[in-house]
């Protein structure tokens, strides 16, 4: 089984943490520190596998994010690389050209997607389309059930040029607020 999945930036900032076994908070922090140190110290063209205690650590870098997956010793490392890749594909399909900012500002969505893909340290669904469909349906359900203003737009449409619109059924109209310059990649408009 998989033991944990961590996503962190090149500066070592944590973006997502999923633990599949119960671990005390202090130890989680220590593991995160260990992982970030170990992975960030690796040479650019080394192999993607590490040994840490009795686990195998599989890590892969996608743009500015490191995906770090810990698996037990009897698991298949090459397949673990595919698991990471599949998760990135799912995120990409959902957010459209996903980048680190998407995951920062919509971390709860990243978790929801992960929870449709993995469960209890094992893969629960091997089809990309099924996972996407489930997430979309859950999002619609959120819209359908929400009363009043909502923080969590079920769906949004992204226009070319980077303006997001909120299209929640029950809210009043469209709102758009621009993020100030200084963001790393491109300026996007997030509805809140």
């Amino acid at each position: 089984m998989m033991r944990f999945l961590l996503l962190f930036s090149r500066q070592g900032k944590l973006r997502l943490q999923k633990w599949f076994t119960p671990i005390p908070e202090r130890e989680k922090k220590k593991i995160i520190r260990d992982m970030t140190t170990m992975v960030l110290a690796r040479q650019p063209r080394s192999c993607n596998f590490l040994h840490w205690k009795d686990l195998k650590i599989i890590y892969k870098r996608y743009a500015s994010l490191y995906f770090c997956l810990a698996i037990e010793n009897q698991e298949n490392e090459l397949l673990a690389l595919e698991v990471i890749h599949r998760y990135v594909e799912l995120l990409d399909k959902y957010f459209g050209n996903v980048c680190e900012l998407d995951i920062i500002f919509n971390f709860e969505k990243a978790y929801f997607i992960l929870d449709e893909f993995l469960l209890g340290g094992e893969i629960q669904e091997t089809s990309k389309q099924v996972v996407n469909r489930c997430i979309e349906s859950s999002d619609m359900l959120q819209e359908y059930y929400c009363e009043g203003e909502t923080d969590f737009p079920g769906t949004w449409r992204k226009y070319h040029g980077g303006v997001y619109e909120q299209t929640c059924i029950l809210t009043c109209g469209l709102k758009g607020i621009e993020i100030t310059a200084g963001e790393e990649y491109r300026s996007r408009m997030y509805c809140i």
Partner: protein, 756 residues
């Protein structure tokens, strides 16, 4: 009270903070607002507040005050609330908190909800973080959902069942009926999770394994369909249909076929098919091939198939992709014991991997190379390995050196080759060899009687070149001390004897004594060597002078030795020749810690001589007179005692006398664990009153296995010159079932013979 700020607004605000302090301030302010909002029991914004709390938790700030709020969200009727509530539960709660049990009822209700997505949330949470109590309570619900026709729920229920079985293995039987039709599913999600469930059951119970063996034909059929079927857009990954399912089935087949001839035979064809037909241009294909190879090697496959598997690994070794090479080396390491000859065929490729740039690959290649060394290839392999030793990173040198010594010891074609190899290691990686190599090497040299002259000559020449590598210098000093007479008499047969005078030899040894590069231990070796030469060389006066100079050395050890040797010259000159006689062949004592070489030369037991041969971590005996030289200390049979027995951890002490010093008690502790879980990170510490001196050697391990399956041993040496009653305070630290345990205890029940 104004509406709490939105989640994404908070995220944006926090990201504008320029310093850690600024961020902390913002977070504290927001936490305070959230806390008061929680106190007001505000239903509308609870979801928003918990989400913000989760974000702050990810940044590393404490969020425990949100735990109960998560429970309230879970109990809410709104789907949004439930979604965030369950997420919060998975992030903030775990089975350590008592609070988590309150979730059980909510989860139970949600498992029976009319909306499948709510049921899915509950199953997901239970499957990720359900504690044993929760699993016990809700196993029935999970079992019910395992039989539903809704594939979305069925696949989640299957993995939830896996989690339940992991937490509460006794409940495994309960899920057996529901597994009946799992493999006849068409839905890949259900199929995959079913295979996981079956794998878990088979791994845990031999009965289940026997029961499920009949599924082999069905599994083979499913795998065949996956390979033979055409393109399926739903599950395709780079031209391969559902690789995740394929790998999982291969793994289950491995477990089912492991010790069973019939099952193994039933899978031979499909394994050969997968092995030959899988596309290897992408990582996916190689992942499947890797799993196939592991399966072939584990079951009772026919030899043709095994050769095919090893050849696949051989091809992997030549792959450009580092990951594939790494995986190949790891697998070959596993199979080298059973299929040694087949792996030998790839020896040259493996040895080439020693030159790879990647650190992980180099390490694997080194381990595999050592495993492949045998009597036939020792010369060739050793050349490559010594070359590797020259050029590798420091982190490898210690392991490589040890490996070389071991291999040389097992397969050396001749004594001279053996000694040459050792010399090569000492000169190239001398500072990295382990501490216990020095006494081992000394023992080896002593035992190769005919090579003494050659060895001492080569070591002397090495010393002339370089005196910085301490292990080399120590071995060389020892040899020169022992065989210096052979050196000056030019008796070497193996190679051209060199012309060396006694003074030149003494110059070199004295040079070691004064050099800044020599450690105190090395100086000890050098001084003792000089002393030994007093019976082998004629320039005794020079030696006397050197010895007397060091009688006032600042280094206590050196001073002590010099004083003792001085005394040998003055008061006990008649004993000197006998004392400093050539060493006999030593018995090799196999111990975990530094080797203690027991000397049995003549009637006297000179501690002076023994102190030369103990490895660097040595005793601290202080002798005031030589009276005890004439005493043969009998090793009394001292009864063992139990020093500590609490909470399942028992520590026994066994005793022996350090021969010949009666003031030193050597105690071996034996730690055993009668609980059902291993004790990890076990550390034993001891303290004694001021009149004693204590030395702790390294323990055999720091894991005490459960149920008395093994013991951890550690040696303690206690010096008790005033013959006072031995008392000790011990401190034990270990981790049991995830929690750290620490205990202090006094040990006062030492048997009188141990300190008298």
């Amino acid at each position: 009270m104004p509406a709490p700020i939105r989640l994404r607004e908070l995220i944006r605000t926090i990201r504008t903070a320029r310093t850690q302090a600024e961020e902390r301030e913002m977070i504290q302010k927001e936490c305070a607002a959230i806390r008061s909002s929680f106190r007001e029991e505000d239903n509308t914004y609870r979801c928003r507040n918990v989400a913000k709390l989760l974000y702050m938790h990810m940044l590393g700030y404490p969020a425990h005050f949100g735990q109960l709020e998560c429970l309230k969200l879970i109990a809410s009727q709104k789907f949004t609330d439930k979604r965030i509530g369950y997420l919060g539960a998975m992030l903030l709660l775990d089975e350590r908190q008592d609070v988590h049990l309150l979730m059980t009822n909510c989860i139970k209700n949600d498992l029976n909800h009319s909306t499948q997505y709510v049921q899915g949330l509950a199953l997901c949470t239970l499957g990720c973080m359900g504690s044993s109590e929760m699993c016990r309570d809700l196993a029935g619900e999970v079992e019910k959902l395992l039989k539903t026709s809704n594939s979305y729920l069925r696949k989640k229920a299957a993995l939830c069942a896996v989690h339940v079985i992991r937490k509460v293995p006794e409940l495994m039987e309960m899920f057996l009926p529901a597994t009946k039709n799992l493999l006849s599913e068409k839905n890949h999600g259900v199929l995959h999770t079913s295979v996981v469930l079956l794998t878990e059951m088979c791994e845990r119970s031999p009965d289940m394994l026997a029961h499920f063996r009949k599924l082999v034909p069905q599994l083979v059929r499913i795998l065949k369909n996956l390979i033979m079927s055409g393109y399926s857009p739903e599950h395709d990954v780079s031209g391969i249909s559902d690789p995740f399912l394929q790998v999982r089935i291969l793994r289950l087949l491995r477990i089912l076929g492991k010790s069973d001839d019939d099952s193994s035979e039933a899978m031979n064809d499909i394994l050969a098919q997968v092995a030959t037909n899988t596309e290897t241009s992408k990582n996916v294909g190689n992942a499947i091939l890797y799993e196939t190879v592991l399966t072939i090697m584990d079951i009772k496959s026919e030899s043709g198939l095994r050769v095919l598997a090893i050849n696949i690994l051989g091809r992997f070794l030549l792959n450009n992709d580092k990951n594939i090479r790494y995986v190949a080396l790891t697998s070959l390491l596993k199979t080298v014991q059973t299929d040694h000859n087949a792996v030998q065929r790839h020896r040259s490729t493996i040895v080439d991997c020693l030159k790879d740039l990647d650190v992980s690959i180099k390490r694997r290649a080194m381990e595999l190379s050592f495993a492949l060394v045998n009597g036939n290839n020792i010369r060739g392999m050793m050349k490559e390995l010594l070359y590797f030793l020259d050029s590798c990173d420091p982190e490898f040198k210690a392991d490589c050196a040890s490996g070389v010594f071991l291999a040389a010891e097992k397969y050396a074609p001749s004594k001279r080759w053996h000694i040459d190899t050792i010399m090569r290691v000492l000169t190239t990686a001398g500072s990295y060899v382990r501490d216990d190599s020095v006494p081992n090497l000394i023992q080896l040299i002593t035992n190769s009687v005919e090579m003494h002259a050659y060895t001492v000559q080569r070591l002397y020449k090495a010393l002339l070149d370089d005196i910085s590598q301490q292990p080399l210098v120590q071995v060389a000093s020892w040899c020169i001390g022992e065989y210096g007479d052979l050196l000056v008499s030019g008796q070497c047969e193996e190679e051209e004897p060199i012309q060396v005078t006694e003074d030149e030899v003494l110059d070199v040894l004295e040079g070691l004594l004064v050099s800044n590069l020599s450690t105190p231990v090395t100086r000890g070796y050098a001084l003792t060597a000089i002393m030994k030469l007093s019976t082998r060389f004629s320039s005794v006066n020079r030696i006397k002078k050197v010895v007397s100079i060091y009688g006032s050395s600042i280094d206590v050890e050196l001073q002590q030795r010099a004083v003792e040797y001085n005394a040998l010259f003055k008061k006990y000159d008649h004993m000197r020749p006998a004392l400093l006689e050539r060493m006999p062949i030593m018995e090799k004592t196999a111990t975990n810690g530094p080797t203690e070489i027991v000397q049995t030369n003549g009637e006297t037991e000179p501690s002076v001589v023994e102190s030369k041969h103990l490895p660097p971590v040595t005793h601290s005996c202080i002798s005031q007179s030589f009276d005890y030289l004439l005493l043969l200390t009998l090793c009394l049979g001292i009864p063992p005692m139990t020093a500590y027995n609490k909470n399942g951890l028992k520590i026994d002490f066994t005793f022996e006398r350090a021969n010949p010093n009666p003031n030193i008690a050597v105690i071996t502790i034996h730690a055993s664990n009668s609980t059902e879980a291993d004790m990890t990170d076990f550390v034993f510490q001891a303290a004694v009153p001021k009149t004693f001196q204590l030395q702790l050697l390294s323990p055999s391990s720091n894991v005490v296995p459960a149920l008395n399956q093994g013991t951890v041993t550690q040696v303690i040496r206690v010096l008790n010159p005033q013959k006072q009653q031995l008392r000790m305070r011990i401190k034990l630290t270990y981790t049991l079932k995830g929690s750290a345990v620490q205990d202090l205890a006094e040990v006062n029940n030492f048997p009188p013979q141990s300190w008298q």
